[in-house]
């Protein structure tokens, strides 16, 4: 049986161009959708005016809705989708585990604990924001995973097991703090954040996440071929000339940093980092030079539309985006695996 793949060889630039165009169109359309009744043309001219092209007749409030609410939120959705999908791809390849996702290193549960300590217990004396607490928690849990996996022997399965152990520990801590100390209102707020939500998106979050995403993508571009070498395991990678320990440490730290920054801004949006890499792989094949940009674009488009759905489907109430990714992601995951079944 022969395998036909899009993106093999010369079709790759075309595929990436198409995906980039799809992303641009997705963002352009998504910002015209929302509870405030603003015409499509008005939305675009408001954005154009802000970018210095022409002028907009929109009132200041409506202009603010477009420029300070819808646009940063949609762009942040794209950035988070791209980042989570790329982190998931790297984790799956590096740890040789199809179930790995960006949260396998315990980063998200550490972030939850940090956020809860700040919000519920007032840790940091009011100086620390929820995001800062979450980032500190993520850093602590990732450090625990690194130390633990090193002590346990440093093999790939030890990294995964350490991640699972640390994740359980911090989840238990979070639950303990919430159950013993939080009132109903705070609990609801924390829970909403834990499930992942883009409702607090502003340009500051966009800039931070985008900068870290860009830096991580640059690092990954340099390691794309090294990641290919891990297909048959770490020994095989070593005999192909890869400095296995260094590659693993650099990539684990880069993905943990990006995941921590994303989680501190928007909470733990699940399933994007697990499902999108598998879906993209069926289109581009396992070669990371092709797979990484394709996954990034697919994740960006996916999360833009999922967030649009999350904020409109139960209007005026908002559904946490993490709930929608799981509701859409699970059937999509099953479909992808079902279609791949024939090739095994």
């Amino acid at each position: 049986m022969s395998v036909t793949r899009l993106g093999a060889g010369s079709r790759l630039p075309l595929l990436l161009l198409g995906a980039t165009a799809a992303l641009a169109v997705s963002i352009a359309v998504a910002i015209t959708i929302g509870p405030a009744d603003i015409g499509v043309g008005d939305v675009w001219s408001a954005v154009a005016a802000r970018l210095g092209i022409g002028h907009s007749d929109l009132s200041a409030i409506r202009d603010g809705i477009v420029w300070n609410l819808r646009l940063p939120r949609t762009v942040l959705a794209a950035v988070c989708g791209a980042g989570l999908a790329v982190c998931g791809t790297i984790m799956q390849s590096l740890l040789r585990n199809p179930l790995a996702d960006p949260f396998v290193l315990g980063v998200s549960s550490g972030a939850s604990t940090g956020a809860v300590l700040v919000v519920v217990l007032g840790a940091g004396g009011g100086v620390l924001s929820l995001s800062a607490g979450a980032f500190a928690g993520a850093a602590v849990s990732f450090a625990c995973v690194l130390v633990l996996s090193h002590v346990l022997g440093g093999t790939t399965d030890r990294v995964v097991l350490s991640g699972v152990a640390v994740m359980q520990l911090f989840s238990a801590l979070t639950s303990f703090v919430v159950l013993t100390s939080a009132d109903a209102e705070t609990t609801r707020g924390v829970l909403f954040w834990l499930l992942g939500s883009l409702s607090n998106a502003g340009w500051a979050e966009v800039v931070t996440c985008l900068a870290v995403l860009a830096a991580t993508l640059l690092v990954c571009a340099g390691y794309a071929r090294s990641l290919d070498a891990f297909a048959f395991g770490e020994d095989a990678a070593a005999t192909l000339g890869i400095a296995v320990a260094r590659t693993r440490l650099v990539l684990l730290c880069a993905t943990a940093l990006l995941t921590a920054v994303l989680v501190s801004s928007v909470g733990a949006i699940g399933f994007v980092g697990l499902v999108l890499p598998h879906a993209a792989r069926t289109v581009t094949g396992p070669n990371h030079t092709r797979l990484l940009p394709a996954t990034a674009l697919a994740g960006a488009v996916f999360l833009v539309w999922v967030d649009t759905l999350a904020r409109t489907v139960l209007d005026p109430q908002e559904v946490p985006v993490g709930v929608v990714t799981a509701l859409i992601g699970v059937p999509a995951f099953v479909l992808v695996l079902y279609r791949a079944r024939g090739a095994r």
Binding site: V3, D228, A231, F232, L240, G241, A343
Partner: protein, 266 residues
């Protein structure tokens, strides 16, 4: 003292507090096929891992062209020495072509595009292993023999001068064992291969190294090494060794407790 090629000089290695390799020296002749024989746990795999630079010796030294492997750097080593592991698998939806292309990784920089030489090396490796018409097949659809051939093709795509293989004929039926060893014996490379089957080793190897409990107990050409006395001492089984028309020895095992007369050819 500079010796050409790969060489282990009095290497020892402890693993988990146990001495698994005890002062082993090995310098394969250039272009020769060297068979590593010995019971399970005799240190064959550990020796191969030391030669591949995957493990460092506790004492002693492994050199390539007189330079210690530790000083060479992984990539330089990967352009000279290719390794085929005992059993490999992947979860990724790799095709045969994808897997063989991995062999070009040590020859390309991180952002360097695929060169004409890369294409030529991959094409030649596929042709050499008879996989040219299977290039688009998925790894998961391949048989055990085909998977071994893919790994050998990947190793050849590295364009090495030394090739190390750990029991490549394991789990293959007899025809595929012959196919694989024919392929290896015809390669113009210095090959070190761990094997279990004494007769196949005698037929295809230029030199044999017999290991037992971490030490080399015999080394040399197959007729000199494979004797009834040695087989009894190392493997603890009774065997009759005869000489085949091709000049290589043939080992016939004798069931314990059965007198030899009764096992003779009737």
């Amino acid at each position: 003292m500079t010796c050409r090629g790969l060489s282990a000089d009095r290497v020892s290695r402890t693993l988990g507090g146990r001495l698994v390799l005890d002062g082993v020296s090995l310098t394969p002749e250039r272009g020769a096929t060297v068979g590593l024989l010995g019971p399970n746990g005799s240190g064959k795999s550990t020796l191969l891992r030391l030669l591949a630079g995957l493990l460092e010796p506790t004492s002693g030294i492994v050199t390539l062209d007189g330079r210690s492997l530790g000083d060479l750097g992984r990539r330089v080593l990967a352009r000279r020495v290719a390794v085929v592991e005992q059993q490999t698998d992947t979860q990724l939806p790799l095709t045969v072509l994808d897997a063989v292309r991995l062999g070009r990784i040590p020859h390309r920089g991180a952002l360097q595009p695929v060169s004409a030489e890369d294409h030529a090396a991959v094409r030649a490796a596929l042709d050499h292993t008879g996989l040219a018409d299977k290039a688009d097949r998925r790894w998961q659809t391949l048989s055990g023999g085909e998977r071994q051939r893919v790994q050998i093709a990947r190793a050849l795509a590295q364009r090495p001068r030394e090739l190390l293989l750990d029991e490549p004929t394991n789990h293959l039926d007899i025809q595929h064992q012959f196919d694989l060893l024919n392929l290896l014996a015809d390669l113009p490379l210095t090959t070190v291969v761990a094997l279990h089957d004494l007769n196949l080793a005698a037929m295809y190897c230029d030199q044999l190294v017999i290991m037992d409990r971490g030490r080399v107990v015999a080394a040399g050409r197959p007729p000199e090494v494979l004797t009834e006395e040695l087989i009894a001492r190392v493997y603890g089984v009774h065997a009759v060794v005869t000489r085949e028309p091709g000049g290589y020895p043939h080992v016939r095992f004798v069931r314990s407790g059965v007198r030899e007369r009764e096992c003779g050819v009737s």
